[in-house]
Symmetry: C2
Subunit: 188 residues, 2 copies
DNA sequence: TTGCATGACGGACGATCGTGCGCTTAATCT
DNA sequence: AGATTAAGCGCACGATCGTCCGTCATGCAA
């Protein structure tokens, strides 16, 4: 049910997920749908929650075993770009979609989104900082700029794929990430 | 009128711009509003057209006097990030908003968006290629990856500003662009 | 076996959606 | 001055929106 909502949201946006259309998709009555979530806002929140869960599973859980610092940072970039390129939703990475949809609005979805992304930002920031302290990155590294760059590049994979049909998008992003971080070029 | 639609679209997305709400904002009747555009789709297209016009004025027109190649490319990056950080819409850069909103859909808006962005991509690609030929950039520069990186970084300024309140977003983007392009660091 | 919670249903509600129609008013042109 | 055009209005339409209500079937607990 939530998966169906997420699929639809990835294509048309979270607030195009209407009770009626969702009911039609899962072959239920409108009453049956809203009975499970009480309200539309709750449905939206559960959808967002599912996306965060996905991201955690597909990205974070696969890299947390790496040693903190540069190794884990690079692993993150790889898992991240791979996830963004193949997120399992028909309309691309839903995390990206929701981010750009609700960045300028107010409300609980915006709040939850901010919280989730801040958590991820903190993880990135931590590993960049560790990498600097370990001497793997130059001492004058602008940590915030690096985090900004990584988030940027990951976020553009979806539009590059969907809009321009750029099937090298994930590679472009990973390549860019290495440049942003400042590690030397090498074969992926 | 179109400006009002664009203002609203920048915050809530292009298809939240409803005839009724727009009528309320500009203090007209619904009939009066739709009388000017015939259909909602036409209103959306005119809004998109306005954004392209804005972008052309604020970015392209200010850099076209620069010599082709690296100088113009860097000027582009500067004007671009400045525009994205202060686009004149309450909900941030509308170009970005529309891109992420309609990348995965089909229809005339998607089509027009693709056309417009392709034009811009071509301009970027041309100056990168010229810079390579002039010897200002290494010969093995991956042009497509550079274009991807520049678009990424510019596109993340809006969410960084609106979501995280990062008022250094434009600087982060410009800094990242220089790294993507591969020019040495220097004071902006 | 009886009782009851749960889940899904059809149906209805007020609101809002996009879009037509016919009228009045103001501006433009001959 | 008279005719013509255009813009904006009120109003109504069918659809769809989110939500609530009463009903019925199912399955578990007593």
């Amino acid at each position: 049910m939530v998966k169906a909502a997420a699929d639809l949201a990835s294509v048309e946006g979270l607030d195009s997920v209407t009770i009626g259309r969702l009911a039609e998709i899962v072959q239920m009555s409108k009453s049956g749908v809203i009975g499970q979530f009480r309200t539309k806002e709750a449905l939206q929140l559960e959808t967002v929650e599912m996306v965060f869960g996905d991201f955690r599973t597909r990205v974070w859980d696969t890299v947390k075993r790496f040693p903190a610092g540069l190794p884990r940072l690079l692993a993150m970039c790889e898992a991240w770009t791979e996830y963004a390129a193949d997120p399992g939703y028909p309309g691309g990475c839903l995390m990206t979609q929701v981010t750009y949809d609700y960045d300028g609005r107010s409300g609980v979805v915006h709040e939850r989104l901010l919280e989730g992304r801040n958590q991820w930002r903190a993880a990135l920031r931590a590993d960049v900082t560790t990498a600097v302290q370990a001497g793997d990155l130059p001492e004058d590294t602008d940590v915030e700029a690096v985090v900004f760059g990584l988030e940027s590049l990951a976020s553009f994979i979806t539009p590059a794929l969907l809009l321009h049909g750029d099937d090298r998008a994930a590679d472009h992003a990973y390549q860019g990430m290495r440049r942003i971080i400042g590690v030397t070029e090498e074969e992926r």
